[in-house]
Homo-oligomer: 252 residues x 2
Amino acid sequence: MDRARIWTAALLVIGDEILSGRTQDKNIAQTASWLNVQGIRLAEVRVVADKMDAIGEAVTLLAGRNDYLFTTGGIGPTHDDITVDAIAAALGVPVIVHPKAKAVLEAYYAPKGGINEARLRMARVPEGASLIENSMSGAPGIRIGNIFIMAGVPHIAARMLEALTGTLEGGLPLVSRTIGCWVAESEVAELLRVTEKDHEGCQIGSYPFFREGRTGANFVIRSTDEDELGRCSAELIARLSEAGYLAVDGGI
Amino acid sequence: MDRARIWTAALLVIGDEILSGRTQDKNIAQTASWLNVQGIRLAEVRVVADKMDAIGEAVTLLAGRNDYLFTTGGIGPTHDDITVDAIAAALGVPVIVHPKAKAVLEAYYAPKGGINEARLRMARVPEGASLIENSMSGAPGIRIGNIFIMAGVPHIAARMLEALTGTLEGGLPLVSRTIGCWVAESEVAELLRVTEKDHEGCQIGSYPFFREGRTGANFVIRSTDEDELGRCSAELIARLSEAGYLAVDGGI
């Protein structure tokens, strides 16, 4: 396994409810955090409406230029759930009923009034797909090639990610360390720039905040090299101290 | 003004902190809700890293195919704030110091240690740009053509949206109504499909939830036609009642 190579993923969030502002997305942060642990970097995210062409355009491009593509949303039983159809169309394969998905749904709904046409929709997959276990609510997620199709409800998507944990090839996890400081970031911008430049492979992000009438910032250092991350953090703390500021390791 | 035409916007969220999962994005829902009131529909969202080429690619495409493009993030004083440079490069114009932005920043920082090189970075704009007032923290947002460049900190972005309220041409606002029901959405999928089909210009989204061990769903009807929305809502409530379910107007 080549550990130096950076593995990337894209996330496609599908759903009118996110674009209308009705629903606050939680899948971006959840998927991003999970990917970090797998040694895969979330490189880009798109949010599109429940529309065949919008989904298809994004799937083709994102799956093509990333190692993995994850999607959330649009795999339920109702008429606005068109993710499977859109992805199958984009891949040029037919939609079929997956026998195991059908069996899982029949068992899940047996005590809940049985299977019906709408529920059977959730067994439909692009031909050639395999299933991702859903320990929460029966209807499985779907894997086809490097595309992972997950539910839009965040706690169901979480179960699907859980089922995938450790199964995907990745590289070195991105590690991070946060240094907080009660300072306006514009006071220390040059110091940050120089410190980043002195430590190859480390990126320093600066995230200002305003709390209780005071200005502060958290500086987040990210790297795949833990040793270099440690040296960069130590130097940032030292430089902030020299400049007369108290640096709080772990962030404020 | 053509009220029948649908005006669209895209949102580009710029920042490693969103893609790393460190920060939970709030700008998507905030911008979406604000756009609805302006009669502008959020058609697509992208999240990209603090990288010149990723920002440039997205800006060119999204500003080209939507009436408006909003961006959040990357306009602060530190080295990782490259949004202005990336957008200027994508538009093929130089970056200049905007005289009014410089004056605003000088006045804002006069009692806070004065202007410095990092703070002056926040007065840099693509040539030809105008400013968007920031009543919170001095550094203005930037408008160039149909592109609106805003801060990443959500409460600062909110002030910039506030400053733009009522200034952009839009169409009829998208209105919505939510009908809640203690039912598995898969029980009423056909009923939803038929009701949507019977009311032109209305979309019905189905959003399931699980609370206190019970299954329910909120059905959100959206339209630019308030009368048709009313008729569609009434019919959905009637059909749910006929099917033996209690429909809760306003949602659960």
